[in-house]
Symmetry: C2
Subunit: 345 residues, 2 copies
DNA sequence: TTGAAAGCGCTAACAG
DNA sequence: CTGTTAGCGCTTTCAA
């Protein structure tokens, strides 16, 4: 009985030819059946299907892709899977890509431009059909690294001035919403944690923060804008500690991601400052943990599933339309909401 | 100049043959150079290297693998990337596999036996060279789904009685250490959250918990053992709420993972119960967030990097030694430590 | 030391 | 409707 093993005890994989021989037809007919081609003589179809079953035939995807000139894989390039936001996004991209029979090759760049560049370069045209990139430090010309025939969609970051599809939320607007929420709470000394010299989303969120303050007639105080070179919990704690040491500490803080905010919560507690009474805190990303922090965190909640699906759709569009060249780059804005929790109640 | 584009503007990828023609040698010679074969006439080598450079040649990995009969990919089968433990593990496995030029195909099972089974079945022998599986609900015979020629290593879970390589920490011992820590704190009413009808690690952790109580001469009280069908934060909160409603609530809780513990911390706070004063809490996994929860969480910290590396090493061993068949299954125990933080101080 | 050629498993003209 | 056959790009005998 099939599948069987050879002399060495290794499993013997049935090929199209094996199936054809067993069914007494040509490989073409078997291929037709396997690929759901309609016009196959019923009798042959039956015999082929039987042979398929007894051999336990499984197509060799590698060979098929070689022949078809595609790889069946997408690359997902992101800083680090251990960062909750990217872990959650990756899971959703996996699901979305799976619906179209794509495998996803995940590459971690650890957020350094060097690794982002070399990853793009290593993504040979033979490895992947397209790439979804969540850049952190990339410059425009770094995209030369990538084979021009490969469709790319960028997630989140959009400052890089390069004609590439992009999907993400309106960061400026979201930051305005977050900051305005603090204003409406009656807070007047509102700080921001997460300014960054060249990260595009940071710039946009800072713009939104500034816009909200200006709209409310509040002064922009430079000492309330704290830079964060990394966006980990520790950085948030450090920044918050700094803010609380100011002569006139803020009564509210808008953090550019949830990890910074979680760190800020801890620093506040360690300084004996009560959240939200003394200082209200808003985050950004809506990580799952933010609903369970103490206090739970008010945060901007991007529709991550929508981001994942839009990214995959953009890719499909480019792959289906000729080579995807000469198609104007699209910029998809996905929805977000403000999730109000204890840190601002 | 290469790489160039054809009439349609599509990039033209140089093949071995192109390079050979340009260098005026045979494909064999080019192949030799590309693969670092030593004995190539210096003059030819130079010409080939020049041609390689001007064409921007990149080997077609798919074709190479087809010919070599390998795929260059590992499967990593886990419940969900959005769960911090698995996000962190996945990142480490990616790194470890990358050191040996393996791509990693991540498959999410969402922890259901059905999806775990179908995932194993779909992992055709042509897609991957081996699989790293972190099972949650798998039964022994589900492994029949997988092609017998494919080496598998199981992570964490080891109850499934099947002759397969395994790597993980000693769950019984770790649970004993965690529980004994609570005993040493002077706690006498120690509860456990996370019992599960068929999850192997749950059984082992429960065993360790029982052993520690018995060793300390403490009674086993069945009302202190709370089942959790899922291991999310919500389940921990529910379980803790239940425990606190008992006539005689516990003065310590050992949670079978950090998410349960995080949920437990929140429920305690909501019930006005102070941690660790009224009830001490220990978790398991050492998720990054546990160092920043309020209070920070004492937890069992498995050496995750060691797990990832051991898993990849076990696979390499099986792939290098013949087909890996007839090699006794190995059980690698990786180190762990008890990370003591505020929740037990 | 290198060339010629076979063939990994599959798809897709092209005949018939 | 189906068989034959030519490759996809690469590695690898086998000879030379």
């Amino acid at each position: 009985m099939f599948p069987t093993t050879d002399a060495d005890g290794r499993p013997l994989l049935a090929t199209l030819k094996d199936v054809a021989r067993l069914a007494g037809v040509s490989v073409k007919t078997v291929s037709n059946v396997v690929n759901g081609y309609e016009f196959v003589k019923p009798d042959n179809r039956r015999r082929v299907e039987e042979a398929l079953a007894t051999t336990g035939y499984r197509p060799n995807i590698g060979a098929r892709n070689l022949r078809r000139g595609r790889t069946g894989s997408l690359a997902l390039v992101l800083p680090e899977l251990s960062i909750p936001y990217f872990g959650e996004m990756a899971g959703l991209v996996l699901e979305a890509a799976g619906e179209h029979e794509w495998n996803v090759l995940i590459e971690q760049t650890l957020g350094t431009r060097d690794r982002e560049r070399s990853t793009l370069a290593a993504l040979g045209p033979h490895m992947i059909d397209a790439a979804i990139v969540s850049p952190e430090a990339l410059h425009a010309r770094d995209f030369d690294q990538l084979d021009p025939g490969i469709p790319v969609v960028m997630l989140g970051e959009h400052s890089v001035d390069v004609p590439i599809d992009h999907v993400g939320i309106d960061n400026v607007l979201a930051a305005t919403v977050a900051t305005s929420h603090l204003v409406e709470l009656g807070r007047r000394r509102i700080a921001a944690i997460g300014a960054h010299p060249y990260r595009g989303t940071a710039t946009q969120r800072l713009d939104g923060y500034r816009a909200a303050l200006t709209a409310a007639g509040l002064p922009l105080r430079h000492e309330y804008i704290v830079q964060a070179l990394n966006y980990h919990r520790r950085d948030g704690a450090d920044a918050m500690a700094h803010l609380l040491s100011l002569p006139e500490p803020p009564d509210a803080v808008f953090c550019f991601n949830d990890l910074l905010a979680i760190g800020a919560l801890r620093a506040a507690a360690e300084h004996g400052v009560s959240v939200p009474r003394d200082v209200a805190v808003v985050g950004f990303d809506n990580n799952e943990e933010s609903a369970y922090s103490m206090p739970s965190l008010t945060t901007i909640a991007p529709d991550k599933a929508a981001i994942a699906h839009s990214a995959v759709d953009l890719i499909r569009r480019r792959i289906n339309i000729n080579g995807g060249q000469n198609l104007a780059p699209e910029d998809v804005q996905t929805p977000f909401s403000l999730e109000i929790r204890e840190s601002t109640r």
